[in-house]
């Protein structure tokens, strides 16, 4: 199936141009600008409700997580089941650095992001060096997630254990107001999309595609597969750490479930299944749709979980390439007529 997952990106109109020309740059910037404008309108619609704005900010945080995961798994085929843990390193790291160490917020966010980046890089380096396959990479990173979760519960004087902790830093600033956090997260989303898009268009993206399509052939063509895998993990982990720390700062509190495996990793997987793995805009479509549907179904409680189960199964059975690829192929068929 990874074969199927990878085929789609080459047939999609987005990211199909390898040579960085002004036209391909426009074909990247215009969709990103459109997404930015559309999402920027959301507060006009929901801005009155504190609860709904909270949902919207969390939704954007998930868009960021999904993009980060998409860079790591979609672009370089490394199944990182520690999305929540890497974001948590960012979130808890930033909180501890800002509150307990007393660093300025920006510095804490950057340092925490750096920490997540390093951890992601090390995980990827180890997996690549030991040439672990998709499943084994998944299991090792899953073990890492569980260790991180245990650590959070263990050092409860810093993390608040099960109940979580508050963040003093940032209180009374725009970060805790009703609407500004939304635009902060939106800016992150757009930056991440741009970075991933530019990456796809650069020689690094070219190497990504080569190593994903056929690892042996890529290696024979002189591409240092190991190095590009680690590059992918570094970029993705940096996105996860940054998104996690910024989200924690705007939220002002967090608990292990904020970054839990079931709460983040599983949801991101469902979102990407829904969007389209590997495609630049898949995470946006998947995460936004998911947040919307999730909010619609909120009163059904556990029935939601059942619905997601059915959704995951039917998605992978009948359209393993995700909704976006179905839409693009439909679009192409219409245009051809």
């Amino acid at each position: 199936m990874s074969q199927q997952l990878t085929e789609k990106i080459d047939s999609s109109p987005i990211g199909a141009n390898v040579a960085p020309s002004s036209r391909s740059l426009l074909s990247l910037l215009i969709p990103i600008a459109l997404i930015g404008i559309l999402l920027a309108l959301v507060p006009l619609w929901l801005g009155d409700s504190r609860v709904m704005m909270g949902v919207a900010v969390l939704g954007l945080a998930f868009v960021c997580y999904a993009i980060g995961f998409n860079v790591i798994f979609g672009s370089t085929g490394q199944l990182f089941l520690c999305v929540g843990a890497l974001a948590g390193i960012g979130g808890y790291g930033a909180a501890i650095l800002a509150d307990n160490v007393g660093l300025p917020i920006i510095v804490s966010i950057l340092l925490a992001t750096l920490a997540a980046t390093v951890v992601g890089g090390v995980l990827s380096y180890v997996a690549v060096r030991r040439s672990l396959g998709v499943i084994f990479t998944g299991i090792v990173t899953l073990i890492f997630s569980m260790s991180f979760d245990t650590l959070l519960l263990g050092i409860s004087d810093l993390t608040g254990g099960d109940t979580g902790r508050m963040i003093e830093a940032g209180r009374g600033t725009f970060l805790r107001e009703q609407i500004p956090p939304y635009y902060v997260m939106l800016a992150l989303v757009l930056i991440f999309l741009l970075v991933h898009g530019l990456l796809q268009r650069s020689y690094i993206g070219w190497a990504f595609r080569a190593l994903r399509d056929n690892e042996v052939a890529a290696e024979l063509a002189g591409i240092d597969v190991a190095r590009y895998r680690v590059y992918g993990a570094l970029v993705g982990a940096a996105m996860l750490g940054l998104a996690g720390s910024v989200y924690a700062m705007t939220e002002g509190r967090m608990s292990p479930t904020t970054f839990g495996f079931g709460e983040v990793d599983v949801v991101v997987l469902v979102m990407l299944a829904f969007g389209s793995i590997g495609n630049l805009f898949g995470p946006v479509l998947g995460a936004v749709t998911f947040t919307f549907v999730d909010e619609l179904l909120i009163e059904f409680g556990q029935l939601r979980t059942i619905a997601y189960g059915v959704l995951v199964i039917s998605l992978f059975l009948w359209m393993p390439n995700g909704l976006l690829s179905v839409l693009t192929s439909l679009w192409r068929r219409i245009r051809q007529k």
Binding site: I139, I143, G154, L303, I306, G309, V310
Partner: protein, 285 residues
């Protein structure tokens, strides 16, 4: 020290048993069943309901074992059909995703309908001294059942032609096909066996701690870790990996304490995977 090692063995046997059902399915068919823990929970719920309905413990447990086997059979006949059409890594990935979806459905249903239901079997009587260490009767009975299960599996895979046929498929599917073994049939058997084993896990676990509707994910995850450490498809590997990890965990808990012991257990598992990706007693890469 002796007390620690005994406790470690008791915990390790639990871990080992947890992994056998998963490792057989993974080793035989390259199918990663993420709903394995949920099958255990379903069986536990069936036992609990049977007992609520007035059945004595033993028949209730038998009903639970049958239920586990039936879920395994059902899985083989329905959800895994499209999975069998793929091979190697795509097969593992698709099975992982589909059974993950199934685990959501089971979890969602059980937590929705029976949020407070849990199975806990109380084994009466006080502690029993083993090598001068008082041990809880419940964990001893659980360990005895586990040891018997392992012995049964050992004999089955060593001395029955069916067991040998299954092992031949694990080692070389193509070769097995050539000598007239149908891998598909073996797979169905193994899924039924795996379901029954999941039910045994639920029953023995419930003698030590209550098994509630949310236990599924953690059972699956631990089973997965022990499976990988032991080597895919190897029952003996799962047994030894379980005991080693169990002893590491308990010894670390008593000398270092608290949460670090779980981290050490996880680190030991990760290290084994990195040093020996095939696992302790793995059959193949």
């Amino acid at each position: 020290m002796i007390a620690n090692i005994l406790d470690g063995i008791v915990f390790g046997l639990q871990l080992g048993l947890l992994a056998t059902g998963l490792t057989l399915v993974y080793g035989l068919g390259g199918v990663l069943n993420m709903a394995y823990g949920q099958i255990a929970v379903v069986s536990a719920m069936v036992v609990a309901f049977a007992m609520d309905a007035g059945l004595p413990v033993l028949p209730a447990v038998v009903v639970g074992l049958i239920a586990g086997g039936l879920v395994g059979l059902l899985l083989d006949q329905t959800l895994l059909r499209p999975v069998y059409r793929l091979h190697e890594e795509p097969r593992v990935l698709l099975s992982l995703l589909l059974t993950l979806g199934l685990s959501f459905i089971i979890d969602g249903f059980l937590i929705w309908r029976y949020p407070l239901q849990a199975l806990s079997l109380h084994i009466g009587g006080g502690a029993i001294d083993i090598l001068g260490v008082p041990m809880r009767r419940g964990s001893l009975v659980a360990s005895a059942i586990t040891l018997m299960t392992f012995a049964g599996l050992f004999l089955f895979f060593r001395y029955t032609s069916l067991g040998l046929a299954i092992r031949s498929v694990i080692e070389d599917e193509e070769g097995a096909r050539l000598v007239g073994i149908t891998p598909q049939k073996m797979m169905r058997l193994i899924l039924i066996l795996s379901g029954v084993l999941a039910a045994v896990v639920a029953v023995t676990r419930s003698m030590v701690t209550p098994v509630d509707t949310t236990a599924g994910l953690s059972i699956t995850v631990f089973a997965l870790i022990v499976t990988v450490v032991g080597g895919l498809g190897s029952v003996a590997g799962a047994f030894f990996a379980g005991i080693i990890l169990g002893i590491i965990n308990v010894v670390a808990a008593s000398y270092i304490g608290s949460y670090i012991s779980l981290i050490i257990l996880l680190a030991a598992a990760a290290l084994t995977i990195l040093i020996r990706p095939a696992g302790l007693l793995g059959v193949k890469e």
